[in-house]
Symmetry: C2
Subunit: 121 residues, 2 copies
């Protein structure tokens, strides 16, 4: 007797066990999934969306300027910038007392712009 499907819904459209197994096996490994989630997580907060936007527009900016532009406390901005820094989304350059932040590459802006298109349609 053939093994019973875990969930036999009795329709041709329904996929079989082999197919289920395949789908499960092809999911990217947990580390990759988490990397993807963490990357999207970076842009999942309005403050960080603005941060990225402002850095894209303004080029290199120091923390105090960013805080002024966004009308936020230096501390709040600094905490958020750290997240972007930890994920290598921004890079920093110290010059005297100032620390200048800028986007580390264009990738993030591709994602950002594509999303902007999506929400604007």
């Amino acid at each position: 007797m053939m093994s019973k499907s875990l969930h036999d819904c009795g329709e041709k459209r329904c996929i079989d066990d082999a197919c289920l197994h395949n789908l499960k096996a092809n999911i990217p490994d947990e580390d990759t999934v988490i990397d993807i989630a963490e990357t999207f997580q970076l842009l999942s907060d309005p403050t960080r969306v603005k941060l990225v936007y402002v850095l894209a527009e303004g080029g290199e900016l120091c923390v105090h300027h960013i805080a002024t532009i966004l009308s936020m406390s230096q501390s709040a901005v600094s905490h958020q910038l750290r997240q972007l820094r930890n994920m290598r989304l921004v890079k920093t350059r110290r010059e005297a007392q100032h620390v200048y932040y800028s986007l580390s590459d264009a990738h993030i802006m591709q994602l950002f712009n594509q999303c902007l298109e999506h929400v604007c349609e």
Copy 2:
């Protein structure tokens, strides 16, 4: 006397008040920023990343199959699917007792694939 810069760091590189004001003025309006953040938020969780991936690979799947593939409870899957549904990222089709979920458009996969490229490099 000229108005003093909010934060005069005494370097040529430093932007002036007009520039600060411009950057602030050009930030997309709050609704757009929130839309962007919410869109990224949808893919900011490992479970939803897998959900989207599986729907992209498997086409149309019913809740029970998805739960089986992801080794998750039906309830947990259903709760997460609701979020994707609320944001119109997936669409549903009922057929008898089953509800089939599928991605509503290709946009989300463009975002997804671009991010996958990014984390895989």
